[in-house]
Amino acid sequence: MASSPLAPEISLNPLPQADGSCQYTCPTSRTTILTSVNGPLEVRPKDELPSHATIEVIVKPGIGVAGVRETRLSSLIHSTLQSLILTNHHPRTLIQIVAQIVQAEDHTSLPLLLTPLLNCTILSLLIAGIPMRTVGWSVHLAVVQGAKGIKGVEGQVFKLEGGGDDGMETEESEEVVVRNPNSEILSRAKSSHTLTFSKEGDILLIESLECSQGSGGESADGQGWDISDFLKLAEEGKRICCEEGVEIIREALADRKVF
């Protein structure tokens, strides 16, 4: 069903017992996430909110025990979902989201994991029929300096200004943006931007950070990027999420018979 090589492989409701579940594999960053959503359930008295549903997000790592990094991932997802889900429909209940990182190149790299986690969670919320205000989609863009030898899937690598031909040949010193890069490209990237937009184009989550290499100290003095570059990138991210992202969702849901 993956119309373009960039589109993720999505299988809906792989888990029969869960209210809503989804398995999401990003072909380019080779990350696979399995999310299950259950709700509205009975909530523990101490987590109960008088007029809202409590959203609980649990991220389970691929290796080992959930640590500080997983708690941060679940708190980022929780704050994004807080603005998507209509929690006043089911007050004093619990909406529980469990996301298992099935396969990832680097199990602790936040940018590599955040985008697949968000997309997979949104899809399984839709399937579970949890009341939502709107739908969102996330994309991970990496800015790479000197893009020689980056073998990306067709359409994955593009230049910002003109966004012109996304052919493979790129000059040496030129800055290029790679969509949903894998761990190897990310390690050579200058900066990584995880952007999540809602269907109407409102921005839900930004997680952009500098990721050049080096042993720190004075050698890292010149790093950082200008805010105007970021704004251009955000526009591009918005286009990708609002147009392609929503299309992917509609396509995924289309083949499920509804009656």
Partner: protein
């Protein structure tokens, strides 16, 4: 301006004063139990019923108490108010859960003072109003999110205070409608939404 006293400081003999708040009695002495100013209030010299039972016929015995001034600022709420709901104190609370037998609420202010923490109280169905107690429906009296003025009728069990709204000036003083717009009271059992004009049933407190 009287000087400040420290807990443990004797203030006078127990026979000379009636102990008010902030003091305690220890082998015949009135001892301060708070850091603050000593305040002696003498009851009105006219023979009020309380003074008849004191044996001394001379000046009525003053009550002595120590008051710790509260840092009440508009910017921060009073952090030092160590207030606990006591029996028969009027409290403001927010309804958190309702079922057919009782409404659970969280108390955030006692006698118009904000208390530092929120205590949990329960309004049982038989304490909602004075008249026709058995025909009361909790669902038509309170809704989660309503602000209710109630009176503490007992310390209750270990996690709940027992509250009652039996009284005209007790009940819902502020509520949002089903759609979430503010509502204002039109009579003692109905409130009207400001935006849509929808009427909803509540046990309303008399506004003035």
């Amino acid at each position: 301006m009287s000087s400040l006293v420290v807990p443990g400081q004797p203030l006078g003999s127990a026979s000379a004063y009636i102990p008010g708040p902030g003091v305690h009695i220890f082998n015949g002495q009135i001892i301060a139990s708070l850091v603050g100013q000593v305040v002696t209030t003498t009851p009105p010299s006219s023979s009020s019923s309380s003074s008849t039972n004191t044996t001394t016929t001379t000046t009525p015995t003053p009550t002595i108490s120590v008051q710790k001034p509260i840092l009440s600022t508009t910017a921060t709420e009073e952090p030092n108010a160590t207030l606990l709901p006591e029996v028969s104190s009027t409290v403001l609370c927010r309804i958190t859960r309702i079922n057919t037998r009782q409404a659970t609420a969280s108390i955030f202010s006692v006698n118009d003072h904000i208390c530092g923490d929120e205590f949990q109280g329960v309004i049982r169905v038989q304490d909602v109003r004075l008249t026709e107690v058995d025909k009361v429906k909790i669902f038509n009296s309170f809704r989660p999110g309503d602000i209710v003025r109630a009176r503490v009728i007992s310390l209750g069990d270990q996690s709940n205070y027992y509250l009652s709204t039996a009284g005209n000036e007790l009940g819902v003083i502020m509520a949002d409608s089903e759609m979430g717009d503010q509502m204002y009271p039109i009579n003692w059992r109905e409130m009207k939404s400001t935006r849509t004009g929808v009427v909803e049933e509540r046990k309303v407190a008399k506004p003035f």
